[in-house]
Symmetry: D4
Subunit: 217 residues, 8 copies
């Protein structure tokens, strides 16, 4: 296995290395699943564990992991629950569930609390308005939306929290693949909305983690 | 002059031909300004009359026209005021003024009433909420926005009027040129929002005109 | 199920919420099919019900729905037939059938009448010329075309009806995915042609519905 | 001057080399204008002679050239008039005049006859229908159009002549630069429409010349 | 079946209608295969008959057709062999075979002779130089190439025949899908090279047919 | 003046409204400069005050403003100096100075301290390594880079601070306009790097402000 | 088989022709595998031998080849081991293994030595810093990276060797397909980094081979 | 001045830092021109010195520099003439002169010999064939071309030298800006052609320098 683990990453940037499974050769993936199933290993998070990736985990080792197929994440153990630090996860539609899930599971793996506010798309403004007070009670906001991603701008104009927007690849026609949502979020008319790569729920959670650590949670 | 006027256009589609000035050769443009300055001619609307285009109009003929530099439109006379038929023109920011202006002037040239609701961007939701009842009192809605164009989705979720969205080329970075606003509007999460070409205020007015005529105004 | 139904949508915008099935998690979809199969529920329209989506509907509940595989739509019951209100659905080729079907089924679900004029591509102009009188006898026109989408411009120059153009993803090479048709329709030389997202037959029907309601049908 | 003239080009491909002036260094251009102003030289065609390019021609030599500012072409002398061989040049709007002009002047320089049919856009179908018999009386057809370029498809369905379509950069928004017209022409639903680069009137004339020579004109 | 056959197409443009099978609904396709299997029907060409499309042809009717899986074409009978008229089909690599095949079969269906010159890519210039005399002995040239499509420019500089270039979708990275080849051909430094849509072998054959008919073959 | 000031913005999102001058009509801009030159007005920040925009400020009022041509910003007065809260502003090259300047001036206007680390591009790694300890002594990091934007990833791997990356439009060829830098930053291999629109120094400062406020500075 | 082997290629450019298998018709591929399995044939390299391509090799002939599924390459025999000439192959992540493998196997087939330095992404700078001395001990450097491809710039600033960068299609969202990595490498702030097509490990090896030959290895 | 000179660059990568003038603030540029005009300073190369950049050089200091307006380069002194090491600079057309010039001047500044072969476009193949023997007598080849960039592939198939291709922004329509030439070169059918950013003559010279140094020149 040619993997070079960046063990010092947490010391440098406050976020431990995770295993991105999407394009890893199967042999490497199998070796990693095996290595981290051993009881004495440190906690580890696997992301983008689509079914064909999960299939690389030897069957007898699967009980060693907490695997969630919707968010496509798996961990051997979490890094322990922290008493404070809450992240609001707001989505425009139920189809954004995989991205919200990836962010939520990463937050939870790192020990903080993820609070979900789903299906709040602005075609029915009452949905975000009903949730905004609870959202503003959190420390950081992550907003996932596809299509026109208008939710990011509306939400950005209603919260004073640090806010990270994740475009999702949900949609068809001009929305397919998430490029429209990405551009819409980057061009948001609400100031200070920062943007992640398309479908990058993991990255949004890491950006939130940088803030939570700075806040001392 | 190689122009072939489509005099039968109004009979066929209910909208008279207008003169799009943007790329016309100067000689043709000068001839057209001359021809329509004669008192007995029919009403005509010139669009995209940027300063260099207006300069093609012989100076002595300019008083024959009502020229508006913001909307870049000119007419010799309007087609008469109609008693009913109102179009709401809603913009996200003052920078969308040229597009709103082109739509408003076209509506007015055709005889209907244009009602402006400007600077209603969703970063401050109260602006569109304050205006929505008056907007819904109009027959048709035109919405112009650049950047993320989130206004189109929010407005589309608040009105039951036929709504035509015009992306504007306002913005910089990914928003420059209006492609982001265009895609955002096409991908709107609000159902039944129809979209025009970037900066096409004239076209939105024509689409509204098709509806107003059907309504008998 | 994290779905938040926008029950007030019809009151606000005149169009009831529909269920877009394309990216919904399977569990959510199964719950929705189950919920709306109960006899006492309100009418509901499911769109983008591709075969793998339809498979989420429990087999014993399928007889509760009217499912059409070509348009990929299903409903438990329609909202009742309205006596007037006719929409012309004009397509360039038979390959646009799925889009025309989605629009037609949405119109019918909402209670109006859909009249189809298929395979009218302008390579043989006689086809649209033969149909134009009947098209103009309808209240609103929807035009679906892929490839060069030239039909939208020709039709836009032959009808005075409100017209909504839907680019389709039909074609190969530069036409694949519908971007060429979309851009061609947005740049139409016929005034007042409004455009929907690629393959968005549902949206075109909603835009038509906004007009039909304004017309009192 | 580092220019290497391809004197054998006409022998090889039937079309003599021309001087494309758009990006040539000024010194080279001046040298070329000087060289070909001498009475004994062979005929030569300069293309893309925008005003700043024409300014490179020493003033005293300008009378040696036939310069046309609309088509941005200049020649010292033509290659002689040929008795037969007619090319129909059809445009959608007067704004396509520069492209039509470049094609026409190239045809005339090579000795054939260019017949212009301008402003035939399909928003008023009667214009192309009125002209089609005369167009079909020519040997080859060149069609120039911007915006949606729908004219190419309609014309391609009405003529059996070899047809070369030139997208023009006319338009704004999605049409700006000619990419939409280019893609629309490439995706034409009419069979056998061949396409040139955007604004390439010269190339269309050369393609026509290949056919005219094969026809023995 | 909602198909409207354009029976008058041949009279208008010299090319009979063909059946493009790629996106046709299966039921329509089955009906068409059945209709044209009857012995008394006119000749017909089916294009883009990929295996799943050919599967729509009832098994007992398949012997009525001449089906070629490489070019994905089928016909019930050809339109008869014409004594003269030869088209050179030149490809850059063997991977362009499907496109060359579609063009060749269309030429043959229409009655003319297709002469193939395959694998002539310019990385080994001797290949095109060896073939050029034979190519120039044909009436029209079709050139298919993917990747950089440099063959079109080299060939365009070596032949005086009418030449139609077809970009192919062969390649990976920046070449995938054929957009690079398309743009390269449109920007060809050789004058008078006309271009078709990506992979459009059928269209190139139709363009050639327009020339062959003009030549009286 | 059709401007609707969002006076409640600071109460809602913690950031007061600023005046984006880039596309504002000149009359509106003049009115705004006049209004905020009055001594009793609240502090205001004008951004994108390019020379032609600054020219809209009546000459006699210019002394009322602190105008900086490099960052293209102007304010009548700042919002007061805050004792703590430091933002590191790191750039790849001196050409990123306008963007760094816009961010720095916004931070200073809001009352916090901006610390600049310029010309730290990774072609000479020692530059960022020399500065990293001082960067990590700040509360938040803003990174501006054009071209390949590799600095964002290297910096993201060396700091545990919340980090906001701003692509700049610096460069030529594939780098022109900043799209390459934008995509590179979005695809950063360092976790938790959040991205702003191209050249959006103001937005990065606002994102930093959201964090600084949460931190209690 | 229509293949025209370019046997003189090695004499002309120093690199023998290889067989690119990706789009070759199956019959051609089978014939080639058969032809080169004969013991007396010259050495040959097959590239892009994905499993479905390898399946075209008759089973009984497979033992005649050295096939490596990761790099998707096969050869009948190598061209002999050369005593000197070393190429450093540096990758950002293990997911770049297929590209590194294709380059390595090509180098080895041609007789030189490939030295691998994998998983050296700059999010953990120590990885490339640990390896740089060994890298600089090689004659040429090949660098493969996806995502932001920042490794190419960092490496280009640390080595004086000729360096060829290969963007890989690894990643998701804006990184999917490798276009971002390609543009980032082309815009590298380190001088003299030359770039190959996406995933073109074979091409990078050939570029390295041109240098190694010039160096006399 | 915030510039941080990378004085150690030559020690690390063999190429001394140069001053890229295109986007530098004027004040910085003036300071740099002043600093390097002093007689005792080391040699320095300024690139992209367009007229407005050259104007930043105080007039009295201009005689201290060797400024070439075509290549837009200036140096105070060269780094000394080296006895061996020759680079062939091959262009497709005279319009590529600025790029060829930038590469040539950089080579000369570094001390090696640049040999120019201009206007060798493949539309007249004899031009490159006439020059190929002299090209192959050089150590490294740089090829600059715009439009279809077919020259890179033809040249790549005729030389065994290390070859660096530079797409130029020459052309119009699809060729404008150089993206087509870039993609064509990246997709070259000739193996081992490495590519630089559009118009990056400086970078190509640096890539050549890496090879020349390895060769011991």
């Amino acid at each position: 296995m040619s993997v070079q683990f960046d063990d010092a990453r947490e010391a440098r940037i406050g976020i431990p290395e995770a295993v991105f499974c999407a394009s890893k050769p199967e042999a490497d993936l199998r070796a990693l699943f095996t290595r981290f199933a051993a009881p004495e290993t440190a906690p580890i998070l696997f992301t983008r564990v689509a079914p064909d990736r999960w299939a690389c985990c030897p069957e007898e080792l699967r009980p060693s992991y907490d695997y969630d197929p919707v968010s496509r994440t798996a961990w051997n153990k979490t890094r322990g629950k922290r008493p404070t630090g809450r992240v609001a996860l707001v989505s425009a539609g139920t189809a954004d569930g995989a991205v919200i899930g990836e962010a939520a599971r990463t937050i939870e793996y790192l020990g903080w609390t993820a609070v979900r506010f789903e299906d709040c798309g602005v075609a029915g403004l009452w949905r975000i308005q009903k949730a905004i007070a609870d959202i503003n009670a959190c420390d950081v906001v992550i907003c996932a939306a596809g299509l026109d991603a208008a939710l990011a701008s509306v939400l950005g104009g209603l919260t004073d929290r640090p806010i990270f927007a994740v475009p999702t690849s949900v949609g068809y026609g001009v929305a397919a693949g998430g490029e429209t949502a990405l551009r819409s979020m980057l061009a948001s008319c609400a100031p200070g909305v920062a943007v992640m790569n398309i479908d990058n729920g993991y990255g949004a959670a890491c950006a939130a983690a940088r803030v939570l650590r700075a806040l001392g949670h």
